[in-house]
Amino acid sequence: MTAPPGPAPAAEVLAIVDLETHFPLNRGTLKAVEGVSLTLRAGETLCVVGESGSGKSVTARSILNIVKPGRIVGGHIWFRPDAVIGAGNGNGPAIDLCALDPDGPRLRAIRGARIAMIFQEPMSALSPMHTIGQQIIEAVRLHRAMDKQEARARAIELLRQVQFREPETAIDRYPFQLSGGMRQRALIAMALSCQPQVLIADEPTTALDVTTQAEILSLIRSLQQRYGMAVLLVTHDMGVVAEMADRVAVMQGGRVIEHGPVDAVFRAPREAHTRRLIEAARLLERRGNRAAGTPAGGPGQAPILSVRGLCLAFRGTTGFLRRRATAVHALRDVSFDVAPGEALGIVGESGSGKTTLARALLGIHRVDAGQARFRRADGSLVDLCARQGYADRSLYAEIRMIFQDPFAALNPRQTVEQIIAEPLRIHRLCQRSGIGDRVAALLRDVDLSADVMDRYPHAFSGGQRQRIGIARAMATNPRLVVADEPTSALDGSLRAQILDLLLELRNRLGLSIILISHDIGVVRYFCERMAVMRQGELVEIGASDQICDAPRHPYTAELLAAVPRAGPRHARLRDPDAAGPD
């Protein structure tokens, strides 16, 4: 089996020509896909990449005509059932999938059997009321004449292929008993049940942690080679593209703006948008424009925050007659220091306790043990995690927080001015008459115009809202800012903008920042030092560059290895499967 593209181009198993898919809106229509043409060759991987709203998912869904309430209004999707790797073009009849009745038997005979699809949300893509076995067996029996016993055996075999441990018992599990990664594996098993020629994967790893993502991607690749499937992978992540793609199609505003072999696109992107996407992904592989050394002060200075032995367990009870205490240890003996003017990054996967740590420092969660001594502006020390930690409300002016979801963190019923002025008002930081001017100045600091003051948050995009959130945090001239995943809800190109804005503010104001992220790239870009968390424990802490170049803890190494890099050559070198000499 040779990896395409070979000298003789493989047959085109799918050819999308001038596809147009529209969605009805309350007023007018949303033209999600406008004239997309793509080809997918037998056995190859085509990545469709773009930011949210670019039409990439709708394009993928149009292939099997699963676009309700939208409608395919124009174009063709030619499917060649007999296309095989290595054969030339034009052999055998092609079926236009767009011409088939979306609910009719002819399209149904192709769905799942010839072309299979997996979706983004493994949590909700499986029926919660049926075991994964029932759902896989059904997929098998829909297209194959098998009795229940045979189908079950086949389902167990499929689960084994997607690396379920003990597939004989796992088959009777319900989705809620499985982790996100396991559910995505079950979905892949379902998709493989009839050995399709084409696998469409719509952001299959977006909802997963980075280490799980790496496992799923390598699973998809090994299965692809085993079955000779063509894979159409939809993603927003240039790193994933680099890792997976043979060819790549870049989408923007419902159109394909660039289409070609992955090496060529990465080496010499033709379109500015493509270049931006690649730039944004690569940006996070190096350090940002951090000020040299530690600004205000030096290494010898007393830390502004000194955390010692923080422990926190979320307790619940199960059972009624015999109550059993259950405890999830979110923080286990966490200790670190933050120097004045320093940015400390805390990186970890979901469930590692990093957000709990942020909330404990802000007094939202009570800790079971340990302390967090904060040096106030007047030099006095206060334990943030003590019961009386925030009894003095003026402390809230010195320590501020930036939230993850810019849509949730702003009160939709307040104007921008009211939102930003709220801390000014509460802490009486300026004259009533001066509030307007101060808010305007803060808005200018975050590169927003001052005349947006009387608008409500719904008038702004995600990036703009995050800027408003930053302005609110800066309003009190804080000395320590805790930023909890400030960029993870934003598209790639915006991420760097927001980070640069934060860096600029930090360098100018001499802030100390604790930046929390699941993305080791973000932390490396932003922070001098980073701490790696796993299951409530700090496993490693040190200078960012040092940790990224020479991790000491095996988990840190694993985390670093799992991050897809936005350079194809780099990825190929690391990947034994793709670089194999066969």
């Binding site: 149904r108 769905r111 699809m117 979706f119 893509a125 029926s127 919660p128 009321m129 059904e138 379902m190």
Partner: protein, 327 residues
């Protein structure tokens, strides 16, 4: 599951205790007690009053004791099967109830069956074919069920059948079968009568269930697992019935918990208007006559039956939902 059951049973026991206190409070609410009311009435009509008998009854029911003692006397009797004495009907409450309980339950169970038989297909159809003519009709039916109270529906039904056919519907048996033994003829006669109350009771509940099922199913139809099933190549109706309907039915089963009180309520009103030989007319009569032992006993019984029904539906739900069964 066993733990869940134990928890539900314990909760129900507590609820029943609270219910019994409320019922007894209702018995106690009217000023004076029923004996003095009865005595006044008898004196008014010139009946002779057996003083010794009255004193005995007074002692028996502890009428001169404080509330808590009276409650204890009453509740310990109730637990032992003695629901007290109906002064209006001059017979033990338990006997009055025993005569009519079977018919009451039969009518209610029939109504529930008819309700689901109407509501589920209509609800599924109107969600899957949203904004179709059938959906509009179902919505209209839903609003009518919402706005017309049971007594009015029963009244209208009686009026219409009187105008159209000259027949008075009401009761559950023709005169010749009222006291007859069960036979094929009596059964047919019963079925010829029972449709009216069953229809009236089922309508209000069905309207609610259709609304809920439609809303639930519309939510479920847009979930990713439906697309997963589509991508497998399943036929549309088959996948709808197998996945989203299955999921949407679940919260519905739990709504039976609060649907049941509504059904019982409407069966009471309907029973009164259509003058059925069920517990309902007796309840009204006892309340109007302030025959409070009978009324309190009836309300307690109705409440307890409702709680049992709710428990059954909860168990059914737990059994249907793996998240509860295994969680």
């Amino acid at each position: 599951m066993a733990r869940y059951l134990a928890r539900r049973l314990l909760l129900m026991a507590a609820t029943m205790a609270a219910l019994s206190i409320v019922c007894f409070a209702i018995i106690q609410l009217p000023p004076g007690d029923f004996l003095s009311a009865r005595l006044a009435e008898m004196a008014g009509t010139g009946d002779t009053v057996d003083v010794a008998n009255v004193a005995w009854l007074r002692a028996q029911y502890g009428l001169d004791e404080p509330f808590i003692v009276q409650y204890w006397l009453w509740i310990s009797g109730v637990v032992g099967g003695d629901l007290g004495f109906s002064f209006e009907l001059r017979m033990p409450v338990a006997e009055v109830i025993g005569e009519r309980l079977g018919i009451s339950l039969t009518v209610e169970i029939l109504a529930i069956i008819v309700l689901w038989a109407i509501a589920v297909p209509v609800g599924v159809y109107s969600a899957v074919r949203q904004y179709s003519i059938g959906d509009m009709a179902a919505t209209l039916f839903g609003f009518i069920g919402l706005a017309i109270p049971n007594f009015l529906l029963a009244l209208l039904l009686m009026y219409l059948s009187y105008i159209a056919f000259g027949v008075t519907i009401g009761g559950l048996f023709s005169p010749e079968y009222v006291d007859a033994r069960w036979s094929a003829g009596r059964l047919l006669d019963f079925l010829g009568h029972v449709w009216a109350p069953v229809l009236v009771i089922a309508t209000g509940g069905a309207a609610q269930i259709i609304r809920i099922l439609r809303a639930n199913l519309l939510d479920e139809l847009s979930r990713p697992y439906v697309d997963t099933a589509r991508a497998k190549g399943m036929a549309e109706w088959r996948l709808i019935l197998r996945y989203p309907v299955r999921v949407a039915m679940n919260p519905l089963v739990s709504t039976v918990g609060w649907l049941l009180p509504t059904i019982i309520s409407s069966s009471i009103v309907t029973g009164i208007v259509l003058n059925l030989p069920t517990l309902s007319p007796i309840l009204l009569r006892s309340l109007l006559a302030q025959d409070m032992h009978l009324a309190g006993g009836l309300i307690l019984l109705i409440g307890v039956l409702t709680l049992l029904g709710t428990l059954l539906s909860d168990i059914l739900l737990a059994w249907l939902d793996p998240r509860i069964r295994l969680g």
